[in-house]
């Protein structure tokens, strides 16, 4: 946007309010990171003494936390595989092909991002309960795929649209068959998008609470379900360390995506992030 002549006061006011709002967004995260190293238990900020006690507690083998981290990792990995398969095929159809009913399929894909998650969770509960699949990691992963696949599809659609189709046409005109084109042209160019889709599928599942809550049993609690229960009922300070690890995981994942996109030559600054499905 072009600058209008601005008053000095207006300028300072804008800078101050923007800083305050950015603090509003960042503070809860900073607080958790600092508190997790505090020695004096839950909710004291700033801590009087520092230690890594809660991290040791969290990592204790055989403990609730270690078990649920393993379970969440398994479910998130399954979810990633499912949503990459669905994502690659669906994005090919939606971004490349001339698909009859294009709008209907696109709407179906977007819907899980907008429908209240509690309704999806309740529906999945009614679906899996009669099959005796409550508590099954596979059921939870399938449920998570309902949320993760649309995100993967949106990312892959934007990746495929960024690839010049004429490169594929050129390869075809030189006699390459479809498999060769996919393997040698499309796939290498789409790799950054595939990695981004995989990362976002993984963290979508790893962070998801509602579906896991409805589909889990006391023996199979994913990490967010355990965190939620810890916050609601117990006062287990280990949860600060767990939260800090979740923050680190998200930041690492985003850094990985940024790195891959940079290596892949995306310098246009637009995020291929699934945050604005409606615009």
């Amino acid at each position: 946007m072009m600058e209008l002549p601005a008053t000095r006061a207006g300028h300072i006011g804008r800078a101050l309010s923007a800083t305050a709002i950015l603090l509003f967004l960042a503070m809860p995260i900073v607080i958790i990171l600092v508190t997790s190293f505090g020695a004096d238990g839950i909710g004291t900020f700033p801590p009087k003494e520092y230690s890594t006690h809660w991290y040791e507690q969290m990592a204790a083998p055989g403990g609730n936390w270690a078990t649920s981290i393993a379970l969440s990792s398994l479910i998130a990995s399954l979810t990633t595989v499912f949503s990459l398969i669905l994502g690659a095929t669906a994005a090919t159809a939606l971004a490349r092909g001339r698909l009859p009913l294009h709008t209907a399929v696109y709407g179906l894909v977007l819907a899980p991002l907008l429908i209240p998650q509690v309704v999806i969770a309740l529906g999945l509960f009614l679906f899996f309960e009669p099959a005796g699949m409550l508590g099954s990691p596979l059921a939870i992963a399938l449920g998570h795929t309902v949320l993760a696949a649309p995100i993967a599809i949106l990312i892959m659609i934007s990746t495929l649209r960024g690839i010049d189709e004429r490169l594929e046409d050129a390869a075809a005109s030189m006699g390459a068959n479809r498999m060769t084109i996919a393997r040698r042209i499309t796939f290498p160019l789409a790799t950054p998008g595939l990695i981004a889709a995989a990362v976002f599928s993984f963290i979508t599942s790893f962070d998801e609470f509602f579906i896991a809550q409805f589909l889990s049993t006391p023996d199979t609690r994913t990490l967010p379900v355990l965190v939620f229960n810890a916050l609601q009922f117990d006062v287990d300070p280990t949860v600060t360390a767990v939260s800090a690890v979740l923050i680190a995981l998200a930041v690492l994942a985003l850094a990985l995506v940024a790195l891959v996109r940079k290596l892949g030559g995306h310098r246009d600054g637009r995020h291929a992030l699934p945050v604005e499905p409606l615009t």
Partner: protein, 300 residues
């Protein structure tokens, strides 16, 4: 971009055989996701719908809806709507101020600010809510600060009430509103504002008559989006709301997990669904009207 060596262009010679091939490929590739979502998304939601209409003996009934829309249940529904509306308005106001500031920052600062907006969005809402719980308690950072400044009335009750819930949900919805508003604000042609200034319009007039109408669609979209997303939201109200601030999603969770009241939970689910559809419908209609208006302008 992959195609920097080749200028982007739409003109391509294509045989009809190739076109047929493309639509066949598209059909085959659309099958997995369509089947998956029909089985694990559409069918389960139909299950919720039919359960909400089923009586104890299996016949059709509207009993669960009547139940959901009366007494305590109705007040939970209304307070969910109120919290969603408050969150939408607040995150719109705050988001507008931030997006507007970002649009005028130097690129380096704007990029940094967008990073602070986007990164929290991908950090578990549970974790961010927990951060707020630590901050807003009677001995939390904010009250400690206010007390040490000798603010009259401190410590304030900021947690386990509606204030706490709305602060928490607003911080969760804010990234959405900022991103949507950021998008429209970037699209505003600065020359229009400069032209108005050239004709002698005051800054306030330019803002009110030129800028605001141009970003209005984004304001509508951002507000409705956060309202809709808030309706079924659970984590923050459940953890920051205390006993009195129950929302519909929490009620559904309770009814299923503790009371085995599935029909009633399903009726609430369908009500949430209908409210969401209504919101999306308004968004869709507004978009359609804008499109038609644009077509009329370019047609005449």
């Amino acid at each position: 971009m992959a195609g920097t060596a080749l200028a982007p262009g739409k003109v391509r010679v294509k045989t009809s055989a190739m076109r047929g091939h493309r639509s066949r490929i598209a059909l085959v590739n659309a099958v997995p996701v369509t089947v998956f979502l029909l089985v694990l998304f559409v069918y389960p939601i139909i299950g919720v719908l039919s359960l909400s209409l089923k009586g104890d003996t299996g016949g059709f009934t509207l009993h669960w809806y009547a139940d959901a829309l009366s007494g305590v249940n109705l007040s939970v529904l209304l307070s969910t709507l109120r919290i969603s509306a408050e969150t939408a308005v607040l995150s719109l106001l705050v988001g507008f101020v931030l997006a507007h500031a970002i649009a005028r920052m130097r690129p380096v600062f704007a990029a940094l600010a967008m990073l602070i907006v986007v990164v929290p969005h991908f950090i578990s809402a549970l974790v961010r809510t927990y951060g707020w719980i630590i901050m807003l308690g009677d001995h939390g950072l904010i009250n400690t600060l206010l007390t040490s400044l000798h603010m009259p009335g401190a410590p304030f009750p900021l947690l386990y009430n509606e204030i706490g819930v709305v602060i928490g949900t607003t911080s969760v919805m804010l990234p959405y509103t900022v991103l949507v508003l950021q998008g429209v604000m970037r699209g505003v042609d600065g020359r229009l504002l400069a032209a108005a200034a050239g004709f002698g319009a005051s800054r306030l007039t330019i803002f009110r008559r030129i800028y605001l109408p141009l970003v209005a669609p984004g304001i509508g979209t951002a507000g409705l989006l956060s309202f809709i997303l808030c309706l079924g939201y659970y984590i923050t109200p459940a953890l920051m709301g205390g006993d009195k601030q129950t929302v519909v999603a929490a009620l559904i969770d309770q009814q299923v997990m503790k009371q085995d009241q599935w029909n009633s939970a399903a009726a609430f689910g369908v009500i949430l669904l209908l409210l969401t559809f209504a919101g999306l419908g308004v968004l869709g209609l507004a978009k359609l009207r804008r499109k038609k208006a644009a077509a009329r302008r370019s047609g005449s």
